[in-house]
């Protein structure tokens, strides 16, 4: 399995790197990758492989192939090869096929990984890779805005589910104590987190398999080139969700009573709603896309039951659906390619120009409807029978109702695409088209043949299907063409008749009313709009570009954070001395007054002078405290700063701009006072709660004998903490370099001095 994955990776990279020279043939090289998985399957490989990756978190490359995996690999590989061959004709010679091939090979590899992963995290890994590959493929025609937004839509919806699923998987694994999928299913965990975890996982499965109300991305994804639609959006990627539910349901459906109503309910609603919408589309591909969603709902309802017979039927439906839906999409692509349109209002009598394609379409559509003796008939009978016996009448009736819709849109597809018959208003009708090349229709023809042969001789695929179902705990069921005249047959017949009526006499009023219902797509669109609007709003609030506000928020945070704790626990120290003498008190008072003055004068020069008064006042306090050297430094700094200020003020207006707005000023005032009070109280509190002797004592005793200096401050600066001083000197050097750099470049000069003077002032102050 690892070898197959490696082949995919190598082929994808090689195509990307070297494929340009090959032209369209790069697609044939790409086909080697899915072919390798078929070859590998044919060699009867060993069922488990493991590479240790990150065992500490349970992330190991554990792979396991069982019957269900075999079926899925056969589909992914088989249809993959056909799609590459089909694409070779579809695209002809055109640029960018290198990219297309790499993406598609990457996708095929990821899908292979999904169905053989036996580690929950590895499953998620490949799951997400399919989303990414699908994003790139849907957006392949990247000049088209529609393609880009459809790609984004698919990516966001599936990734949203994917991330929910990741959380769910981790929670499941944590309750189960293992990240192994088979281990989890072998001993389903119980516990309070299991149910929410399962819901999260289901969310992932529903988004991936386009279940209501997340179905809308899939019709949007039809903007991708048709080979992509045929592969990803019918046969493989959308089956990933079903695959996962089919794996989980047998283990968990019985343990949680909400499981079956939820999963089957979602499935049936999806089947009916999308089937209904398919009955009035005018684009061939959209009819199929909506139909795909509808069929996925049907299969989801079956496998979601987690009961043996329904599981068997669901697995059989996966096979039948992949075969006929891939064929239908390929035919739709052929029509588009040869006639130049997919609009059924414009398509006329194409059956004559391309009889083979039309025949394939008829066979595939008949299989979808469930006509004997086709594979679709065999599986549908099985499905109805299983529902009847295991889920009861309501589910059976609902599915039968969904089948009516299936018939109606199948007829619409055939009549609209290949005949002149129409229930819609016709525009310019295209009756003639090129006949597609033999190779172009070869793939669809092969699929049609499979549909017929497997229908007539169900035993040919019975092994594959029974093996798959067996892996899901459903033993002893087999496919058969004829079950006798029974209720399912009756229901089928009724559904076909009803579908014919619905197609022949479409209830226009109801269709139009339904078209006006709110649609999930619009919810998505308005969510995106809302998201962008919220983002703009939030950003314009928090990122308003105003430096004063930024500073205010920072200061407020710094004050409120510790301040809250402070108000809770602060007590005035018992031995609090307000002032040791009157000079100290007076100086302190003057400093306060000067500080208030700084904030209140209107002239810049006045503010600078007041600010200096604060600084000199603090210097005086140092003197009183007996620190003349500190005071001297402070004085020097203040003088220097004052001088620089005066020089700079020359270039600035004499008055501050009017701040106006009282509220703003009031809030600044409150913030300033709070800051001062908090800082003061904090300092008091901190100093009062010291238990240990400070380091300063140690400095004093060691200064002279060991440091060799009488001035302890000097010894600290040049010896004890010389490393700090080195750093600070460096800081000053860099400031000088920076100032030189700005001046030398000569631009933006008016703002330069303002900047640097602040820098210098700050640094000087830090140097004690």
């Amino acid at each position: 399995m690892i070898a197959v994955l490696a082949v995919h990776a190598v082929v994808a990279l090689a195509c990307a790197a070297l494929g340009r020279r090959l032209g369209r043939h790069v697609l044939l090289v790409g086909a080697l990758a899915p072919a390798s998985s078929l070859v590998w399957l044919a060699t009867g490989p060993s069922p488990t492989e493991k590479i240790s990756w990150l065992p500490a978190v349970g992330l190991d490359l554990e792979l396991r192939l069982d019957g269900f995996g075999t079926l899925m690999v056969a589909l992914v590989g088989g249809i993959g090869v056909l799609v590459f061959l089909y694409a070779w004709h579809y695209f002809g010679e055109r640029p960018r096929l290198v990219l297309f091939t790499s993406y598609l090979v990457g996708f095929a590899g990821a899908m292979f990984g999904v169905v053989v992963a036996d580690n929950l995290l590895v499953l998620y890994l490949f799951w997400e890779l399919t989303s990414i590959a699908s994003y790139l493929l849907i957006g392949f025609e990247d000049e088209e805005g529609v393609a880009r937004s459809a790609a984004l839509q698919a990516l966001l919806v599936t990734t949203l589910g994917g991330l929910a699923m990741l959380a769910g998987l981790v929670m499941l694994a944590q309750s189960a104590g293992t990240y192994s999928l088979s281990g989890l299913l072998g001993g389903p965990p119980t516990g309070p987190t299991v149910a929410p975890a399962l819901v999260l996982v289901l969310l992932g499965a529903f988004t991936k398999s386009a279940q209501f109300p997340f179905h809308f991305w899939l019709p949007g994804a039809m903007t991708a080139p048709t080979p992509v639609s045929a592969y990803l959006h019918s046969a493989t990627m959308v089956k990933a969700g079903i695959y996962l539910v089919a794996r989980l349901a047998p283990a968990f459906a019985g343990l949680h009573e909400w499981w079956r109503p939820l999963v089957c309910g979602v499935g049936v609603v999806t089947m009916i709603w999308s089937g209904w919408r398919a009955t009035f589309q005018t684009d061939l591909k959209l009819i199929l896309a909506q139909g795909t969603v509808s069929q996925l709902g049907f299969i989801m309802a079956l496998v979601g039951l987690g009961l043996p017979e329904a599981t068997f039927a669901g697995v059989a439906m996966i096979l039948a659906h992949a075969v006929f839906k891939a064929a239908l999409f390929m035919v739709a692509g052929i029509v588009d390619h040869e006639a130049g349109t997919r609009d059924i209002r414009r398509l006329g009598d194409l059956g004559r120009s391309m009889p083979v394609a039309a025949a394939v379409a008829v066979v595939a559509a008949a299989s979808m409807v469930g006509l004997p003796p086709l594979l679709g008939f065999v599986t549908k009978e099985t499905a109805l029978a299983s529902l009847l016996s295991e889920a009861g009448w309501p589910a059976t009736i609902a599915v039968a109702a969904g089948s009516i819709l299936t018939t109606a849109y199948a007829l619409r597809f055939l009549a609209g695409g290949f005949t002149r018959y129409a229930t819609d208003d016709r525009e310019i009708v295209v009756d003639e088209a090129h006949s597609p090349a033999a190779g172009f229709v070869a793939g669809p023809v092969l699929l049609a043949i499979v549909t017929i042969v497997a229908g007539v001789f169900p035993r040919l695929v019975d092994g594959l299907v029974a093996g798959a179902a067996g892996a899901l705990g459903s033993e002893g069921h087999h496919l058969a063409l004829w079950h006798g005249f029974n209720v399912p047959l009756l229901l089928s017949a009724a559904a076909i008749a009803g579908g014919w009526l619905l197609w022949r006499y479409p209830p226009r009023a109801v269709q139009e009313a339904a078209a006006r219902l709110p649609r999930a797509k619009m919810v998505y669109a308005s969510a995106i709009v809302a998201l962008n609007r919220i983002a703009d709003r939030v950003t314009s609030i928090v990122q308003n570009g105003s430096l004063p506000i930024y500073l205010g928020v920072i200061v407020a945070t710094a004050v409120i954070g510790p301040g809250v704790i402070l108000t809770r626990a602060f007590r005035l120290p018992e031995s609090l001395i307000i002032a040791e003498n009157s000079i100290q008190a007076v100086t302190a008072l003057l400093v306060c007054v000067a500080a208030i003055g700084t904030a209140n004068v209107k002239r810049r020069l006045g503010a600078v002078l007041f600010l200096s008064a604060v600084g000199y006042g603090v210097a005086v306090l140092f003197v009183i405290q007996g620190a003349p050297d500190l005071a001297l430094t402070q004085m020097l700094i203040e003088t220097l700063t004052l001088g620089l200020f005066v020089l700079v003020l020359h270039h600035l207006p004499t008055h501050f701009e009017n701040i106006g707005w009282r509220l703003r000023q009031a809030s600044r005032l409150i913030l300033s006072i709070l800051t001062g009070v908090t800082a003061g109280a904090f300092a008091l509190w901190a100093a009062a709660s010291r238990q240990a002797a400070p380091l300063s004592g140690e400095y004093l005793t060691r200064s002279q004998p060991e440091g060799g200096g009488a001035n302890v401050v000097n010894v600290i600066l040049t010896d004890f903490r010389a490393y700090d001083t080195l750093g600070e000197i460096t800081v000053l050097t860099v400031v000088a370099l920076g100032a030189a750099a700005l001046i030398l470049t000569g631009r933006g000069r008016s703002e330069v001095p303002h900047n640097d003077e602040e820098l210098v002032g700050q640094k000087g102050g830090d140097d004690r």
């Binding site: 990307a16 990756w53 500490a56 992330l59 990219l99 997400e128 957006g139 990247d142 805005g145 880009r148 984004l152 990516l155 990734t159 949203l160 991330l163 990741l166 959380a167 981790v170 929670m171 944590q174 962008n532 939030v538 950003t539 928090v542 990122q543 430096l547 930024y550 920072i554 200061v555 710094a558 510790p562 704790i565 809770r568 509190w685 901190a686 100093a687 010291r690 238990q691 400070p694 380091l695 400095y699 004890f720 903490r721 490393y723 700090d724 750093g727 600070e728 460096t730 800081v731 860099v734 400031v735 370099l737 920076g738 631009r747 703002e751 900047n755 602040e758 820098l759 700050q762 830090d766």
Partner: protein
């Protein structure tokens, strides 16, 4: 080996570089040589402390609390190693870039001093020295951010400088308060002595330091300086800032919360902050339409994830944080380098002026796509592995709210990455940039040094994925040691 080597080597090189003047070839070789030596020294240190030992030296050979302790433990060594790799890669990138003014007198010495300052922050065991190291990196960043001296650079540079100065003031105040309360600034000594003081006071100090370092780390609500100032700088400068500077803040938060304030776990506060940081950051990114601005907001958002892991206060959570930081430094630097390449090629980073580069420069598209998807946490890339470990450790302790936010923010991250992808690499430009005359012919389409260094980092991020197990083990061990500060204290202060 002395833990000071990663500080000394670039420091000495800076001095020589300054003296070399305009001998550009010589200076370039010198810088590369010094940064290679720096990387080697860091990795050797990492090798030395892998087993959990702590390498320590006191500058000037004074006994521990008197002199300044320099300490390297596993966490420091991890940060040193990844930082020195980035410093080297971005330096090479800068030499190749036409927009760096690598030939001015100042770029090389200042860049090397920045390297020295970053190393100094990671290796210091002294709170005041941490302040000095911060100052060194900051002042170098002031110079680098305005290198070129255009008006917007100076204007946004002013915001950056003023806010950083306020942060420095708060830092000094906080150090002063700690000294007042304990009488020491040696971090190991503090780890012991802070236990003895009033618990409420300790808690208040702890929150204060969170704010101080939070400004540097750009957490909510203290981040606004970052998205305003980073995008205006030259691409290599933004790349190295984005990779390293905020992470120095994260380092300081982790270090202080685990070593100094290990008794008080502000789990709720940190988790709430983490959630808000992730959300507000990513919303900011969504609102932008310029590659560098989008990426700048993502720095903020991603910081939230790192705080998230710390906020859980479990070994698994902290291990995830360490792991995440390493991943993030790598990826974020790379993304900004790719942004610089886009600018180099087209002369703009505005989305509406760009388009179709998938077809004109497919290799560049790949170089963007890998780190972009990694940033969004898409498997199997490094972001997935890192995010997975976070999600797991969050769910393990039932932090459902934060996990939900983290997951939801992932999809928003992906959303804004697709915005760049669709805007730059898909479609056609809405308003093609005016190509300066002779731009096409005058220089290579992609300077090989720039592409080479970017590609090397992309390769390194892939290597991260392959070697996830040993790397995670390192992170896990680092986390274990962080939660056992006794070892650190003993190494510094002696038994």
């Amino acid at each position: 080996m002395t833990p000071l080597l990663p500080v000394i080597v670039p420091f000495g090189a800076a001095a020589i570089s300054l003296a070399l003047g305009r001998r550009h070839a010589l200076r370039r070789s010198l810088g590369v040589l010094a940064l290679v030596a720096n990387l080697v020294a860091s990795v050797l240190l990492l090798q030395e402390v892998r087993d959990g030992s702590v390498v320590t030296v006191v500058v000037g050979d004074w006994p521990a609390p008197i002199g300044i302790s320099v300490v390297v433990d596993l966490f420091s060594a991890i940060m040193l190693s990844v930082a020195s790799l980035m410093l080297l890669a971005v330096f090479v990138y800068a030499i190749g870039s036409s927009r760096t003014d690598d030939t001015t007198l100042f770029f090389h010495p200042v860049y090397l001093l920045l390297a020295s300052g970053v190393s100094a922050s990671f290796v210091t065991g002294d709170l005041f020295n941490l302040f000095v190291a911060f100052e060194m990196t900051l002042v170098c960043s002031y110079v680098l951010i305005t290198l070129g001296g255009s008006k917007p650079q100076v204007r946004h540079g002013t915001t950056y400088v003023v806010i950083s100065l306020l942060a420095s003031t708060l830092f000094v105040t906080a150090v002063g308060l700690v000294y007042a309360a304990t009488g020491t600034v040696n971090m190991a000594d503090l780890a012991v002595k802070l236990q003895a003081i009033d618990p409420a006071l300790r808690e208040a100090l702890s929150v204060l330091f969170l704010v101080v370092f939070g400004i540097k780390a750009a957490i909510f609500p203290l981040f606004f300086w970052l998205p305003d100032s980073y995008p205006t700088a030259a691409a290599p400068v933004t790349a190295i800032f984005a990779g390293l500077l905020t992470k120095v803040g994260v380092y300081a938060i982790v270090r202080s919360q685990t070593l100094l304030f290990s008794q008080d776990t502000h789990s709720t506060l940190l988790l709430a902050t983490a959630a808000l940081t992730m959300t507000v950051g990513v919303l900011g990114a969504i609102a932008q339409d310029d590659v560098k601005r989008i990426l700048s907001f993502h720095i903020v958002s991603q910081i939230g994830y790192m705080i998230f892991g710390l906020g859980l206060f479990t070994v698994a959570g902290l291990a995830a944080t360490v792991f995440y930081v390493v991943h993030h430094i790598l990826i974020k630097t790379t993304l900004f380098m790719v942004g610089g390449l886009i600018e180099e090629r087209t002369g703009t980073a505005a989305l509406r002026r760009l388009g179709g580069m998938l077809h004109t420069s497919p290799f560049l598209a790949a170089l963007f796509l890998i780190p972009a998807l990694s940033l969004a946490g898409v498997p199997p890339l490094s972001g997935f592995v890192a995010k997975l470990t976070l999600i797991q450790s969050g769910l393990e302790v039932g932090a459902y709210m934060t996990v939900s936010v983290a997951l939801f923010v992932s999809i928003l991250t992906l959303f804004s990455m697709t915005k760049i992808w669709a805007g730059v690499f898909w479609g056609a430009p809405e308003a093609p940039p005016p190509m300066p005359e002779g731009l096409e012919s005058s220089r290579p389409r992609f300077p090989p040094l720039m592409v080479g260094s970017t590609a090397a980092l992309v390769a390194a991020s892939l290597l991260f994925v392959v070697a996830a197990a040993p790397l995670y083990q390192l992170g896990q061990r680092a986390a274990e040691f962080l939660f056992e500060p006794a070892q650190y204290v003993e190494a510094v202060l002696g038994p």
